[in-house]
């Protein structure tokens, strides 16, 4: 599937669908529509959780030939994201990364970097730079 966008896509994964949707809203309002963006959160019963299937669908929805950067909140969001990446077909598997960054702030930073056309590694580095303290 393609949404015709050549910028890196952003996927937001939270245990809470409200957090994931809210973070995606912040990205849309602050950065705009120039990047593929998808979110997933909650388990199929409507409770808190994440699912490999939901993450795979979000990756598909935000897919870009430039790759996809995933922002996660806690434990299971990360392990399920890793599992989702492992389940991707080979040409896509190497083009999806998980960012070690806070989910909301990291999503806005990564999206801003992606908006300008930066490659996947630069997008990830920008999100992860958040935790560092540049003087």
């Amino acid at each position: 599937m393609s949404n015709g966008n050549t910028n890196v896509g952003i996927v937001i994964v939270s245990h809470s669908p409200d957090v994931a949707r809210g973070a995606a809203d912040m990205v849309r309002q602050m950065v705009g529509g120039g990047i593929p963006l998808a979110w997933t959160g909650g388990n199929p019963d409507g409770g808190l959780g994440t699912s490999v299937e939901g993450i795979l669908q979000a990756i598909d929805a935000a897919w870009s030939e430039a790759g996809v950067a995933i922002l996660v909140d806690l434990g299971g969001a990360e392990t399920n994201s890793e599992m989702a990446i492992e389940m991707l077909p080979e040409p896509r598997r190497g083009r999806v990364v998980i960012c070690d960054a806070p989910v909301v702030e990291g999503a806005v930073m990564a999206a801003t970097e992606a908006w300008g056309g930066s490659d996947l590694q630069t997008v990830r580095r920008t999100a992860e730079e958040l935790g560092e303290r540049p003087e």
């Binding site: 602050m30 950065v31 705009g32 529509g33 120039g34 806005v108 930073m109 801003t112 970097e113 908006w115 300008g116 056309g117 920008t126 730079e129 958040l130 303290r133 540049p134 003087e135």
Partner: protein, 93 residues
């Protein structure tokens, strides 16, 4: 080619999240290397780095210093001065 400019930041909340994103996005639309500083003595911050621009934590009523280097340096400085003067309205979509 080099260009420089200054503009007074009047946005009430200073250069906080949303203005920082808009400023970064605008800078990214130019090929020139663009830097911003709250003090001409530095530190000069890469205006295309949203993390660093936000990290400046620039309060309102700061005189922002801009400098750019590259073939579209003047256009980049002009666009950023206009953006700050227009209270960050009219940035790139």
């Amino acid at each position: 080619m080099q260009a420089e400019g200054t503009v007074l930041l009047l946005h009430a909340a200073g250069l906080h999240a949303r203005p920082a994103v808009t400023l970064t996005k605008t800078a990214k639309t130019f090929r020139a290397k663009v830097q911003v500083a709250a003090d001409p003595a530095g530190p000069w911050i890469d205006a295309k780095s949203v993390v660093r621009v936000m990290g400046m934590k620039t309060p309102a009523r700061t005189l922002l210093h801009l400098r750019a280097e590259g073939d579209d340096a003047q256009a980049a400085v002009d666009a950023l001065v206009r953006l700050v003067n227009d209270d960050f309205q009219g940035g790139p979509e």
